[in-house]
Symmetry: C2
Amino acid sequence: MFYRCRCPAHSQAYSHTYNRGKIFQCCRSLVVKFAVLADINQDLQNMGARNVCLMTDRTLSQLPPVGVVLDSLTKHGVKYKIYEDVRVEPTDKSFKAAIDFAKQGHFDVYVAVGGGSVIDTCKAANLYASHPEAEFLDFVNAPIGKGKPITATLKPLIAVPTTAGTGSETTGVAIFDFENLKAKTGIANRALKPTLGMVDPLHTLHMPSRVAANSGFDVLCHALESFTALPYNLRSPCPSNPINRPAYQGSNPISDVWARHALKIVAKYLKRAVRDAGDVEARSSMHLASVFAGIGFGNAGVHLCHGMSYPIAGNVKTHRAKGYNVEHPIVPHGLSVVLTSPAVFAFTANMCPERHLEAAQILGTDVSSIKKDDAGRVLADTLRSFLYDLEVEDGLSSVGYTKEDIPSLVKGTIPQERVTKLSPRAHTEEDLTALFAASMKLY
Amino acid sequence: MFYRCRCPAHSQAYSHTYNRGKIFQCCRSLVVKFAVLADINQDLQNMGARNVCLMTDRTLSQLPPVGVVLDSLTKHGVKYKIYEDVRVEPTDKSFKAAIDFAKQGHFDVYVAVGGGSVIDTCKAANLYASHPEAEFLDFVNAPIGKGKPITATLKPLIAVPTTAGTGSETTGVAIFDFENLKAKTGIANRALKPTLGMVDPLHTLHMPSRVAANSGFDVLCHALESFTALPYNLRSPCPSNPINRPAYQGSNPISDVWARHALKIVAKYLKRAVRDAGDVEARSSMHLASVFAGIGFGNAGVHLCHGMSYPIAGNVKTHRAKGYNVEHPIVPHGLSVVLTSPAVFAFTANMCPERHLEAAQILGTDVSSIKKDDAGRVLADTLRSFLYDLEVEDGLSSVGYTKEDIPSLVKGTIPQERVTKLSPRAHTEEDLTALFAASMKLY
């Protein structure tokens, strides 16, 4: 991950104000604002780019980050094609459309400007264009797909995140909605990791309040889940060869550092970032937290909140999410993840109560006189209060689910073994049923 | 960086005791102890190794980590050659001898088992064997060398650190003593970064107490210097192309995380690790701290303590260091670094007093009522007290230097611009003279 601040004007402004706690505050005019991204041409030249694929979505294609990249490409005469049909919350069908575009384009460098949907779609397009003989299911996670190893060298991919949640710029994971199964799954392999992330917090200032909230919840759960995930040395079976290790290794001393650090930033800045789009310090901090949590969970993994979120998003009926400019019903990823978090951490706490208490403490609860046996309840209460303050929908019932839906939500969770097996506590279908039931209402 | 714990016996033992704060305590018998390293053959196979260069030094060549690697290579019929003539505190001459060995061997993978001297020597051997046409000075840091860019792809290098200080397994730096100049310099380029680090704390249990202390001081100063280094966005000149960025970027939000974290471990465990070689938890923690500080300073850089340490080590006259099995006079690297630290941080404090106070606090001083103006004095006093407790030699005078040596020590510091320019406070030759003078006695 590199932090860009080469333009003299931007650099001076940044450094000058950074020391005073007002990051970027004097460089908010558009010309300077995207000066850093305007340099992308140099990175492309260094990568030997002659034919660039720029991926984004229809909303972002009208916004400055994409415009600046296009200007840079045009100004320097770099040949490119733009693909702006990325679907927010992508599906196998939308992945395949992007893959076809990539295969026909014979691109030598990819640039993804957007949130997790855009970056994930671009990873998949790069992968299958580099493996033209492969069937779509070849690389999709088992048991849904075949989980084959990736043998080709992918083309360089520059990821420019414009939300503060996914961490996709740091990970080797691409998630999509498998429409036939009504559940999300993905492709997970280190080979998918972007070559370069251009992390400029100014790109997140355009986010509507609810997008800031939901992507922030993704950061929150990346941190909480990777911090409480099964420790790496308890994962089994151990592969006989290190090359067969999964992308998600279990919690470990390095991911713990990132999880704790990201959680502290969420505790300090998420509410401010949601409530005031002009709070540049808060939005900047959350953008960094997204990267940090990404480095952590990208190595440690996530578990039940994410595993259960995929059918919550995949089975959506009619829910329309505020702040999202899409034509289809949607439960935004971060929202689908966070709605089960109180129930999940109440369930997992007895496996590592110290970590659950530490998380509650970081999120602002005084845990000095709390017994270990109460760790789950205390973290769950802390999360409910945090979500209430941020006006989060009151549980699964408020995004369109009833008790009758629980069997299909459980059914959609079963194939998410790639992540759910990292839960510190083993669980049955009955446990999942109880967790969904307990998440119907939060307050 | 990967943490190895694949062997079922080792994995179980590790996990079982880890939760009880006694890391590894039930797997200290040799067979299990090096089970992880014994798997190195698989990594070598995955890298396509057919002709391996194993580098180490004469002391380590008699110790278990090297024996286990040799057994693994022999057992699996991998062709290899061993080079055990690495000099502790290497010189241009010793680098060149290793380079000649590498050039003649036409190796396809390198394995370095040892401390920073071994890993750095192996990096240099790999570099020049991959660039057979290059002159030795071509890649040496300017202004001493030419600092040319590295264009060839180096062979894979597996680093197995056996001390807890250097962090060399994480960095793109190789340091040596340029005998003509009586000063250390080095080669710094991301291309030198090892492909894989095998970080097994059990490898550090053999370290004599003074080696544990001195390598721990290296960790301490890596953390303190990278934490207080010039911020990345104040570094100048900004290169016009990102490919020309130096390896050392200045302090930044990511290196700060590692510096703080490593410093906390040093504060908690260094004294225990020095005083009791059998304190596996402390030695294990310091080994991880070495990695963490390495990731931090490997990106942010170090400054005056390291810049001034090179002539302190290079001008050594007759000093013999306890615990080091070498035939030549030596001021061990970590010791040469830490002896100036009280003076250095008293000098730099006014540029970022908050960070100096935070460091003093992490090291155990109550700073709640300390004024910013006193930050330098307080951190210096904290360091002196810390060093006194660890029975560190009383300043430069106790390793053989007098006031008459100061001009040559200053002269040897001037060419270390690569690191000294990262000092948060600009400095003159007079300042350096005063810093050396203030470091003659510590207590």
